[in-house]
Symmetry: C2
Subunit: 530 residues, 2 copies
């Protein structure tokens, strides 16, 4: 046995010994029975992905998803079911069709899909293809007067990257053991000024390029998908805020079709393309975003305290937002359904939040946390106001609202559709023996690991940033980062029903135990923002 | 060291000891210099894939490829450059665009491409989707009168298959050692009657279904791509022969879009699709196919003897026929170019053949071998005549033509674009020490292995079947059977220039040494067809 392995075992044993954390095994049994043998998680997952489809923030389909999830919560007997409006998030957008054809010597369909929040072509347009590479404002001058009526090929060819690992990955004992290592973070350089400058330059360039392409009368722009093997990985392109320059229709094309276009142009050939994108903004003015909220109210003296679970309901637009994140939503909804079905009567209130605007930077969850729990003061300087929260100068001490102290814990799911293998403790060491105790009845379904590590990039961070316990589960990766993340293949078939059932049982049990334990979840020290 | 490994080493050593096969290292050096440092293989490969594009047998692009390759051979100073017409192969076909859109509640583009030799839709058509599962002639009756104006979904959903191996594979010492094992074949059951019956039933069903769908007035039919992950793997659908019922437009759709349609119909939902396929037969009547042939004539007494190299020039229609088989064609053309460039003066004639009709069953190479070297008598019974050669009753002894005894050896490349790692000896043990000697100057570029094994499914079999030495090289598989084989991703970017250079050098050297050695290549005993 390796030294590391021995240490892991000792740690696990001592964790459990220290914990003495009560676990209601009768309740866990009821939760497991409901989750495993009476599951509705796939019905929920199927409706979200295959009836509603992709759910771009503020799109009509997102509104449909808000309404449908509210309906299910009400049907299941949850309380305080409502949409929580936030922010002047921006305009809705949707697309229904996109095609690109190479014309001329050889006529060939090329596979491309539009970037969100870029305009449609208003019917087919045809033009000569020109290569455009703008990295600075000065580069724009090279192309002035040359792009009218043209289709623009943005950037260069990318060499094919061979797949040297299997597409799909599940944890094994070794990889789980590896998660027990914590990397002491390097001291970040005091580089906020540099990052702010770069952010400002990127924003300025993007706005200038959009205005320039539109002013030139270019027909459409095409860039390369960020993954190979025919996968279209594409997020947003244009601005979602009314009044910003929307630019021209823009698409991401599979590498296997994009690279030949680059080579043809580099070879001096003339290439003509026909582009047809049916896409539209669904609002004239900015609209608020909407999170969907529902509760199982607590009973007795702790009813004012809050346990939250959640996942983001919004998705990108080319797949059906299945692993990212109908999976998380279906699991969180199912956890609430299970708790109602087994007759759970939690002491604390259990609240579920289905976030919007996650893909645009955790917008819905951050706004919700700011309005309900805590926030740093808004900057008064317009330049600071224009920056994302992570780049702003500190504005003063955290402003805690009433529910800040009534809040216990938030559990999130957003690392694809794979099975839970444990939980990241986000450096909250006092939480670890609690999680170890709660996980024990799920060791037999593969969830064994509590890691000190932080994980980021999703909605639990909105809580973590203000010092509230927010956690994300360790999940089997499956093909999240090889096939489906933000791609047109993020669809129903890449998920596993058994994984979603397992996850729902664990979330239900975690939420229940968090709602029942004597104390709220311990908190780690809040670091002052720097 | 394993026992198997020791045996392999002993075999290798004894093979070399027995061989005493002369190798002209000065010539190998010249060939390597030209192949590695003055290569034109990528220029050839690029023109075939990205200027001409896919080359379906008898399509206009195939004719363009015949013409272009003839031009290159002439430019390089080869002799006897001509197209070799064969058979009344069938009609040409081409497509330029295809789209499928889901209409109704949610409008979504679905990714599908047409099967070769199926008709176009003559503009967009819209219809309700119905599921059709016809496995026998009797099944047809279930659908009679129900398919007019409908779009047909053929077959059922298929469960997603996770990728548990890396996409791309190169041989290592272990896998090469594994190739040294030969599996003694099981005695095949005398099942020709059964196979003939099944073949007949399949043909009858296919014809009946095509006639039925057309008679019903169904708009189009959609089946599932045979691979997952958004890859469209599609070959032929309709008959290439004039006079056969062409049926209706038929497409293969990515599994991620096909399966949801099945689930929607199984759920009782109404689904409407818009289908638009621009495809056409390019001939009214059957046309011959065309192989392209060229030679470096031999000098002196052995000039009438023949060494051949080749690869198939035809491809399927949705990618650009890159790994299958512009790679093989570019390598074979480059080998001829190299031999001219280094001033090779072979004693035997070296002939290159770029086959057509390979994807339809080695048609071009079989017909060529039959007309030039040997064939079994044509059956007189029309029922036997209608069968593929492999299913016919024996018709009598092999008829050998004049050049049968003048023929030495044929080398083929058609296992994707990956690097040569050796050669399959097709159970011709007398050839093995010769190949071992010829490979030795290429050990340093990874080509080391001579395996007794047979390999099939490509044009060397046309020679092997009549007792002529025909060989196929062992190649690194790369992503041939995960991404590119017969798919829309069979494109330029999935090939490696260095692999093609290495292969061209080896083919040039093998062809040269075969043309120079005292004796023709030894032959293995010809098995009577049973």
């Amino acid at each position: 046995m390796s030294k590391r392995c021995v240490m892991a075992l000792l740690l696990a044993a001592s964790g459990l010994a220290m914990a003495n954390e009560p676990v209601d095994l009768d309740m866990v049994s009821r939760i497991r029975q409901e989750a495993f043998h009476n599951s509705q998680v796939m019905a929920t997952f199927s409706h979200l992905t295959e009836t509603i489809g992709p759910r771009l923030s503020n799109s009509p389909q997102m509104a449909e998803a808000n309404a449908w999830t509210r309906g299910k919560f009400s049907e299941w007997g949850l309380s305080n079911v409502h949409d929580d409006a936030f922010d002047d998030f921006g305009r809705g957008w949707e697309f229904s069709a996109a095609s690109v054809e190479m014309l001329g010597g050889r006529v060939q369909p090329l596979h491309a899909l539009p970037k969100a929040w870029t305009p449609g072509t208003d019917g087919p347009v045809e033009g000569e293809l020109v290569k455009v590479d703008i990295k600075t404002l000065a580069d724009i001058e090279k192309y002035r007067g040359k792009l009218g009526g043209k289709v623009l090929l943005l950037g260069d060819a990318r060499e094919y990257k061979r797949g040297t690992e299997p597409d799909s990955h599940r944890h094994d004992a070794t990889s789980l053991e590896g998660l027990q290592e914590f990397t002491v973070p390097k001291t970040a350089a005091a580089d906020r000024a540099k990052r702010v400058k770069e952010y400002g330059e990127r924003q300025q360039l993007s706005r200038a390029v959009n205005e320039f392409f539109a002013a030139e009368g270019a027909l459409a722009a095409i860039s390369i998908s960020s993954w190979d093997n025919g996968i279209i990985r594409v997020a947003g392109g244009g601005p979602r805020k009314a009044g910003e320059p929307v630019g021209i229709p823009e698409l991401a094309m599979i590498a296997e079709h994009f690279n030949p276009l680059v080579r043809a142009l580099d070879d001096g050939q003339t290439v003509r393309l026909r582009v047809n994108v049916a896409a539209r903004f669904t609002d004239e003015a900015n609209q608020p975003g909407h999170n969907t909220i529902a509760e199982i109210p607590g009973r007795g003296g702790k009813a004012g305290e809050i346990v939250m679970i959640g996942a983001h309901l919004d998705s990108w637009h080319t797949g059906t937002g299945a692993a990212d994140n109908a999976a998380g939503v279906a699991v969180m909804m199912e956890a609430m359904r299970i708790l109602k079905a087994v007759g759970a009567r939690p002491e604390r209130t259990i609240r579920v939040a289905l976030w919007s605007g996650e893909e645009q930077g955790l917008v819905g969850s951050q706004d919700y946390v700011a309005r309900n729990f805590a926030h740093y003061p808004e900057p008064t300087d317009p330049a600071q106001k224009a920056l994302p929260a992570s780049l702003r100068e500190p504005t003063g001490p955290l402003r805690k609202l009433r529910d800040y102290e009534r809040f216990s814990v938030y559990f999130n799911m957003d690392n694809g559709s794979g099975r839970f293998r444990g939980i990241y403790a986000q450096e909250n060491l006092a939480a670890m023996p609690i999680f170890e105790a709660w996980l024990k009845p799920f060791h037999d379904v593969g969830a064994t690991t509590v890691a000190t590590r932080n994980t980021g990039s999703t909605d639990h961070i909105a809580f973590d940033r203000v010092g509230l316990p927010g956690f994300q589960f360790i999940q089997d990766r499956l093909d999240y980062f090889t096939n489906v993340h933000h791609t047109h293949l993020d669809t129903w078939d890449h998920a596993e029903p058994e994984d979603l059932k397992q996850a729902a049982a664990i979330v239900a049990s975690f939420a229940y135990h968090a709602a029942m334990r004597d104390e709220r979840m311990p908190r780690k020290p809040l670091l002052d923002p720097k």
